[in-house]
Every structure is written in C-alpha cells, then in structure tokens.
Amino acid sequence: MAEREQKRRPASTREAEVVEETAPADTTQGDKIKAELDDLLDEIDEVLEVNAEDFVRAYVQKGGE
C-alpha cells in the first residue's frame, strides 16, 4: 500500500499541472462532449426500436457455452 501511494503521488501532481495549463481547453472539451451527447440524444429517437416493451420481451436466447 505504502509503495503505491508513493508511486502515484508524483503522477497526480503531474496531472494537476497539466489540468492547470490546459484548463480553458478542457472546459471547451467538456462542453463539446456534452454538446455531442445532446446531439446524439436529439437524433436517437429515429434509431430506437419503436415499441421498446415488445422489443425487449421478444429478445429471448437459449443459454450457451
């Protein structure tokens, strides 16, 4: 346990520095990801199965392996 803590501390320090330097870019990145998800959710209804309940009920498999 002690070893792991020692090893990972420098890594998180590095990470903290990177976050600081690129903070504006990261925010943009975060917004972009959220916008992408929103776009996807906007268009997804066209792709989704029309009757979810029937679709789920009808999907029956035999066990395998």
Partner: protein
C-alpha cells in the same frame, strides 16, 4: 521466463429473427453461417479429433466426458483467416485464430464482428423479402439466459494450476471495472440495481470448476490445450463480457496476459490478493458504480477493486523493468501499461471521462443522458431496449457505432483480417493452406490439417506448436509448392 501469451477470443452471438424468419435459434444460426460460407468459397469442415472439453486442469476427467458436446451435423467452418465459425448450442460462434498479442486479438475480434455483419447481409439475400436474421454481441437476454465470450491464453504446463487460481481470481473479479460492457438491471432475483458494470457478473456461482453452462465458475478448469499437452496448457477464461470498445478488449486481453506472465514467473509469490468471498465480490464490484466499495480480503484487509488493480499495475511496472515484456510483445506491452494506468486514473477521478474507451461508461453515459432527459426510472423498458440496441450489429441500428469510441485498428486492417490469417502464429499455415489447397483439405482444427489427396488414406499434418507455421517459417515452403501433394512431400508426411 514466461512463454509467449498466444491468445484468442471465442464469442457466442445473440441471435434474433424478424419478419417471420426462422425462429429456431439453431436453424437461424445455420442459415446465417451457411449464407456467409456459401458466398465466399468452398467450405472446409472442422475436425473433431482433438476435442475433449471434459478434461479437467486439476488432473481428472469427468465421467463420460470422452465425446465432444458439439452437434457435429451442424455447420462448422474453418476460414482462411484461421478462425472457426460455427453453430454452438443455439448461437453463432466465432473463434478468432491464435493471436500473438492483445492488439492482434482486438483486430481479429473486430474481424469477427465484420464477418457476422457480412453474414447478416448474406442471409438477407437468401431469405424472402421482409425477413431478417439479426445478431447481437452481448452476453445476456435480460431474462436469466447467458451466453459466453471466452478468452484463451497459452500457459506453461509446469506452472501449478493452484498458483494460477490463487492469483487470477482477484484479477478476474476486479478487472470488471474496465472490462464490463454494462447492463441495465440485474437478473438475480431480489437484487435492485439500476445499472451495473458487467453483463456476466449475475451468472457466476462457483470459484473454480469445469462447468460453463450451469454453476459457472470464475476460473474454468477445462484442460484442452489444442497443442502439445506436455508443454502447454490453454487457460480457458469464461468470466468476461463481450466488448465492442476496442480499448476495453485490448485491456481485457492485454492486462490478463501480463498478469498470467507474472504468475508464470512467480512474480506475485509474496503478494496475496485473495478475496474472502470471490463469488459475492464479483457482484459487489459489478453493482458498485461509485467504484469505492471495499471488498473483504481473506487476510482481513479491505480493498476496493481499484486498489487491487493499482497494486497489480504497480507490480506489472516493476515486472516490466526487471524481466521485460517479451511474452506479451514489447511494444504492445508498453502501450498496455500506459493505457492501463490512464484508465485506472480516469476511473479514480472521473469515470465519465472514459466514455471513449470503456463499454460500460459509454453505455451508461448514453442511457443515463436519455433517462434524465425523459425523466425515466432505470426500470423503464426504453432503457432496457437501448441496452440491447447498444450491442446489435445491424449497422443502421447499432447505438455503439454512433458513440465514436477510440480506435486501435483501422477499418482497412480489419477488412484484411476477414480473409488473411495472422502472420506470426500457426494460424498462418492453416489460413494459407485453406487459401491455396481448400479442395484437397478434408478437415482442419486448431492443431492439425487433414489432407485428402484422393488416395485410400487421409494425411494429417500436426501443428502442435502454436508458434510454428508462421509466415517467416513457411512462406518459402508454400511458395515453392505447386500442389498439395508437393507440400506433403516436402513436409515429409
């Protein structure tokens, strides 16, 4: 020194029929696979000589386990990329050929998906208008029926099986945090969980055993090496999920390869991550989206799945520095350690940052976004339907395809792997022989090819060494041969 972690993945695909197409899953699977193999070329059948799924790694055979549990009359083909494509129980199953490392395994696993997609299209051409056979790369029908995605790893026979069991169980339980494909709800009666990490955790009831269809064990003891049994064993891993995200497959196979190499070199000898209750822990890990729930260790400590994976990661770093990563591929191994660390860091700080890498995160992000937008509870059928639709291979309907996860292999490389074998394992010899001499091959399996030259006897060419028959070893030989008779003469058969 650890031996090369030759690896492969077998995937049983879910199968469904629409528009009045054949409902019986065995018949539908046959239609699907036949449609594909009839379109590509002459179909070479599988040779069952080598099958003994009842042999147990702990050193005994189950009574009456001599005969293979396979329906030999069903379609069972060997492909020119060295893979096996067949009907197993009630599912189409694709087994990748032997791969030298985890990245090659990702490539062939994706080639398998491409073959299933081509098979659906081929079936469409032979079925009446309006009928369709549809396949899913998942592991559960959400009604308590599970089908498997199995990994295979080459191990040194000298390694005591008990040592493998001791060290690999904690890894299998805790790797779910990045290998899980995600599932809405649970299939265990009385469990109330909205979303869990893994498709399969609900189905494991034993720590170690031979079964795969009932009382599933975390470590499967099937001892069927498909190569020189005095030198090797094939660790048959049934505990994993089918992954669509390439990074998830890469980590699943790659990290497991490194852990097995460390076990082989006894690198974990003075470390013990034994869990107090591994079967219970499988579910605890899968049900814990916070990733912060501690597990009881056999020695009384409490560690989270992340703690255990970090410890294994740190041990692997030291192992790499001290012993090198030749057994998993030097370059692939270095990339693997880097990605493993990145993923563990991401899981620790902000799991949602890994939506481009891990299936469970990608699926959870999409479904949870939909759930919040429409103010649904996790038990809403629309979310269960989206869960299934994440895994469907119909290109127009696949939700996974719309998520744009990170790629490790190009489309061109995957398309090539649909027909071309890996160059650096015995799969190369199998695949090339099928490309060149299919008309003279009566059957093939993992460790031999049977030639029929028209005479009274068949000629079996054994391939007991997984790393013999590579391009560098047999290209000159094959190029110099004008006929299968010529090849057999030169091989001295």
């Amino acid at each position: 020194m650890a031996i090369a972690k030759v690896c492969g993945i077998e995937t049983e695909y879910g199968i469904d029929s629409r528009g009045g197409a054949e409902k019986d899953p065995i018949a539908a699977s046959s239609v699907l696979i036949n449609a594909y193999v009839n379109e590509i070329s002459r179909n070479v059948g599988w040779d069952f000589e080598d099958e003994s799924p009842g042999r147990d790694a702990r050193g005994f055979a189950r009574e009456g386990a001599g005969a293979p549990e396979v329906e030999t009359h069903l379609v069972n083909a060997v492909l020119t990329n060295g893979a096996r494509y067949y009907v197993d129980h009630a599912h189409p199953e694709f087994s990748t050929p032997e791969c030298l490392d985890a990245l090659a395994c990702v490539r062939l696993d994706k080639a398998g998906e491409a073959i299933l997609i081509r098979s659906m299209a081929a079936a469409q051409r032979v079925l009446p208008a309006g009928q369709e056979i549809v396949v899913y790369k998942n592991n559960s029908d959400r009604k308590g029926n599970s089908y498997g995605t199995h990994e295979n790893y080459l191990m040194d026979r000298q390694v005591p099986f008990g040592r493998i069991v001791q060290h690999v169980i904690p890894h299998f339980v805790t790797r779910q945090i990045y290998t899980g494909a995600g599932k809405v709800g649970s299939e265990v009666a009385g469990i109330d969980v909205g979303f869990q990490l893994s498709q399969r955790a609900d189905f494991f009831e034993e720590e170690v055993g031979l079964e795969t269809t009932i009382k599933r064990p975390i470590v499967n003891t099937r001892d069927e090496p498909h190569c020189d049994a005095a030198k090797y064993r094939r660790l048959h891993v049934i505990v994993g999920d089918a992954n669509l995200a390439e990074v998830a497959t890469f980590l699943k196979v790659g990290v497991t390869s490194v852990v097995l190499a460390m076990i082989e070199d006894d690198w974990l000898a003075d470390r013990d991550f034994s869990l107090a209750s591994p079967v219970q822990a499988m579910r605890r890990v899968s049900y814990d989206l916070s990733l912060r729930h501690p597990l009881e260790m056999a020695d009384g400590r409490r560690m989270t799945a992340l703690d255990i994976q970090w410890e294994l990661h740190d041990l692997a770093r030291k192992y790499a520095d001290d012993r090198g990563l030749e057994s998993v591929g030097v370059e692939v191994g270095a990339d693997l350690l880097r990605r493993w660390e990145q993923v563990l860091s991401g899981l620790e700080t902000d799991p949602s940052s890994l939506a481009g890498q891990l299936d469970w995160v990608a699926k959870h992000r999409l479904l949870d976004g939909y759930r919040q937008r429409h103010d649904l509870s996790w038990s809403d059928a629309r979310l269960a339907a989206m869960d299934l639709q994440y895994h469907v291979l119909r290109p127009a309907r696949s939700l996974f395809q719309r998520l744009g996860t990170e790629r490790l292999v190009s489309d061109e490389s995957i398309a090539e792997a649909v027909t071309e074998p890996p160059r650096d394992t015995r799969a190369y010899f199998r695949g090339r022989c099928l490309q060149r001499f299919a008309a003279s091959i009566a059957a093939a399996n993992w460790d031999s090819i049977v030639f029929d030259l028209g005479g009274d006897t068949l000629h079996r060419v054994p391939m007991m060494e997984p790393l013999k028959g590579t391009a560098s070893m047999v290209d000159a030989l094959l190029e110099g041969c004008t006929s299968p008779n010529d090849l057999l003469d030169r091989l001295g058969s």
